[in-house]
Each structure stands twice: as structure tokens, then as C-alpha cells.
């Protein structure tokens, strides 16, 4: 019995142990791409060091991140789907949207390249070629910014409505999961360059198509409307948004590299 009692005492000690609650903290609803690429992990300590505000990142697809903020469960947003962001602002949830950086999407695929895309720069032609070759294609299918960009391209490529074909594999997962799936199934997929460069399980995947102006990927920070979200920590949230677009924050974003390659191009001064 004494053993049980000491075990319980130990557990209670854990229960009463105060959490690591910092003096000031905000919850940032963000996308899987800025988390999986390592960007936030890299730049957040610099912001926390200057301001004492710690940032808790909940990484979700853009669609889910916007929903999290709509429900009042986040203080700030960092997302990349212009259309969904506009809708969020039109609904009155967001007040200010500022671009902090851009990179681009690329179409990656197996080195065997069954749809003969390699070296091309026309994303729409590439999607048409994938469809006519019936080559396996992995879709995020998770309402994320990348997923939205992919669906826009399919629409331009003439696919109206959802694609229900065996070669089109909707995995309903994050960017990393989609790349893992594409790597395992020798499939094509659309990915942001940041996640692609930092992804460690590429297998036989290589970049097939890049450089299309339609593949620009913009990251925006959105502050919440003080009337609708009075409970949010808007002060420190604004401090972080301001820091991201400040020369210091922009330098930190531009300085982040993986294997000598820059992942995000700061663009607060000249939004792309």
C-alpha cells in the first residue's frame, strides 16, 4: 500500500507542478509548410529574445487554421491561400493582412517521369499531361493553401468538379504526408518549395516543373478583428505581426537556409 501511496504522491506532484507558462504568449495558427520547413522554429527564438513574448505554433492546413481563428482559438494567423484569406476578412474576422514572404510551388514526380514533364515550366500543361497519361498524382485533399492552389490549377486545366479517377489519390494529409505518399507510390504532387527543400525522404522524387508565374506562393500574416475576437491577445499578436514585416524580421526570414538554399523570400516591402 505504501508503494501505491508513494506512486500516487508522485503523480499528484506532477499534477501540481506549474506548467511552463511564459509571462506572455500568443497562439499562432499557421500552416504545415512553415512548420515542416523549419522556418518558425528558426526565427521564433529571435522574436522571443527581443520581446519576451513566446509564440505557440499550431500548425494546420490554411483552411483549418482559418477555422481555428474563426472559433476564437488563435490570436494570429500565418497562412497562404489568398482566396480563403479574402473570405475570412470579408466575414469580418480579420482586419489587416500583410504579406511577409513568398516562395513558389513546384511539381515534383518520380525520376522515371511517366508523363514526360521534366524541364517544363507550364504547370497547367503539366497537369493536362498527368491526366492524359493517367499517371499517379497525390492530392493533399485537406483544404490547405497548397490544396487550394492545386485545385485552381486543375480547374484551369479543364477539370471541372472533383476528380474521381484511380490515378488521382486524395490522401487528406499534410504536405509531408503527401510527399511521403508520392515518394512511396511514384506519384506526382504539388508542393511548396520550402517543405520540398527540407524534406528528408525524397526517394526517387525530383522537381519536374518549376518557374510558372502561376506557381507563386504568398504567405500573409492576418490580425484578428478586435470586435469579433475581443478575447484574443491582440496586443502581443500585433507585436509579432509587426516584427515579421520589420527589417529585423524580414532579415531573419531571408537568412533561413536549408542546404545552402533560401526557403522564403522576404517581401513585406514589395508584395509579390
Amino acid at each position: 500500500m505504501t508503494q501505491i501511496r508513494s506512486l500516487l504522491a508522485l503523480m499528484v506532484a506532477f499534477a501540481l507542478h506549474p506548467g511552463t507558462a511564459a509571462a506572455q504568449s500568443i497562439t499562432l495558427a499557421s500552416t504545415t509548410s512553415v512548420e515542416a520547413s523549419g522556418l518558425l522554429t528558426n526565427i521564433l527564438p529571435q522574436f522571443t529574445a527581443t520581446t519576451g513574448i513566446s509564440v505557440h505554433v499550431v500548425a494546420q492546413g490554411t483552411g483549418k487554421a482559418l477555422d481555428t481563428a474563426r472559433r476564437g482559438d488563435a490570436d494570429l494567423l500565418l497562412v497562404h491561400d489568398p482566396e480563403a484569406e479574402q473570405q475570412f476578412i470579408d466575414e469580418g474576422h480579420g482586419v489587416r493582412c500583410r504579406q511577409i514572404a513568398w516562395n513558389d510551388f513546384v511539381i515534383v514526380g518520380p525520376s522515371a517521369d511517366p508523363a514526360h514533364l521534366r524541364g517544363g515550366s507550364d504547370s497547367v500543361a503539366a497537369f493536362k499531361a498527368i491526366a492524359s497519361a493517367r499517371a499517379p498524382f497525390v492530392s493533399r485533399g485537406d483544404n490547405s493553401g497548397t490544396n487550394a492552389a492545386e485545385l485552381r490549377l486543375w480547374k484551369i486545366a479543364g477539370q471541372t468538379g472533383p476528380i474521381r479517377e484511380k490515378w488521382y489519390r486524395d490522401i487528406g494529409g499534410g504536405m509531408g504526408q503527401a510527399l511521403n505518399a508520392a515518394s512511396a507510390m511514384n506519384a506526382y504532387t504539388l508542393t511548396d518549395r520550402g517543405t520540398w527543400l527540407s524534406f528528408a525522404n525524397k526517394g526517387s522524387l525530383v522537381i519536374a516543373v518549376e518557374g510558372d508565374p502561376r506557381l507563386v506562393n504568398r504567405y500573409d500574416v492576418i490580425e484578428l478583428d478586435p470586435q469579433k475576437h475581443a478575447g484574443a491577445k491582440l496586443g502581443p499578436a500585433k507585436a509579432f505581426a509587426d516584427w515579421l514585416v520589420s527589417p529585423e524580421g524580414q532579415r531573419a526570414i531571408g537568412a533561413y537556409q536549408v542546404n545552402g538554399e533560401r526557403l522564403f523570400n522576404p517581401s513585406a516591402d514589395k508584395p509579390k
Binding site: 499534477a15 515542416a36 505557440h56 524534406f199 528528408a200
Partner: protein
Amino acid sequence: MGDFFGIVGVSIGVSLTATALAAAISLPLGTALAIFSFRGRRLLVVLVNAFFGLPPVVVGLILYLALSRSGPLGFLQWLFTPAAMVIAQAILAIPIMTALIHRASERAWARYGDELICDGASRMQAIPPILRIIRAELLTAIMAGFGRTVSEVGAVILVGGNIRGLTRTMTTAIALQTSQGELSLALALGAVLVGISISISATVFALAGSARTAGSDEA
């Protein structure tokens, strides 16, 4: 490396707290189900056993909606904190622990119940001695509860948010490493998780052994 110890600390801290919370409810509940008779007792026992297979992701989703700032428990501001993870894990552990304690208490009550009542104890007063009699099974129940909590990922990733340094546990970190394609790192963390859960279980098992010896000395 600091990250690593932080993740292990969050995992073990949250799971131990959840197990303690679940024990505080399951111990009296499991025994009470065995020694009191009241309307609906049978149904409660069936429910407790049926909730063994409660899908973690469903528990996570319901708790997420409840704890959201626009949900009924939003005022607590627990979403995306360790507190939310503790609640989720406790909900998952309670059915298993209660069922195991109920079963052991039932046997002990059948054997010693009459004596305890003859000694003048009320049924309420009989709960502590029954718990003392089944102490070995108590440890098994606590161990099973801890096992359920520490290995869980579906609920804690929803209500905890996998926030670095705050709510990132070993299981959610493994999910994240896998999504970054860092499969060998994910596997290494998995090995640590297995190692830690095995050594905690082994320690508790050894404690149970010595408790049993101590028990026979008393007799």
C-alpha cells in the same frame, strides 16, 4: 537535445497526471460498482466495459469542440494546453481502469464482504479495506491506464496542437518527424518511447511484487 528532454518530460508529466486523475475517479468508482447495488448498476458496468474501445480521435474531437473558446468550456482557456491533454487522456484511461478495479473488487467483495460488514463497517467504509486487499490489481489497473495514455496520439494532437516546448509529446513528435521525412529520427524517438514505457511498467510490476510479499507478511 534540449528539445528531446522537453518532449519526454511533457509526455511523462501529462500521462502521469492523467493517470493520477483517472485513478482518483476509477478507484472509488470501480469498487463502488462492486459493493453497492443500485438501479442502473448493471448498465453502468456494461457502459464502462463498452468504452474500452473509445476511439481517441473521437474523444479528442468532442473535447476540442467543448474547450474551444466558442464552446461551452471555452472560458477555461484550456485548448492547446497540457491541461486539455490531461483531460483527454484521463477520459481514455478511466473505462479500462474502472473495469479492471471493478472486476477485482467483485471477487474480493464476494470473499470478504460479509466479514467486513460483520465488523460493523458500512459499505462506504468498506471501500478502503477492499482497495487494500486488491492492491496488486490496483497496480495493474494503473499500469494499464498509463499505457493507454502515454501511447496515445489522436486525441492529444487535436486538443494539444503539438506546440513545440508546450504540448509536443513523444507520439506527436514522431508524427511530425515522419511528416518531415525524417524517418530514422522518428524511429529513434519511437524506440525511446517503447523503452520508457517498458521501464515504467517493469518498475510498477516490481513494486507490485514487493507489495504482494509485504501483504503475505501482514497475514
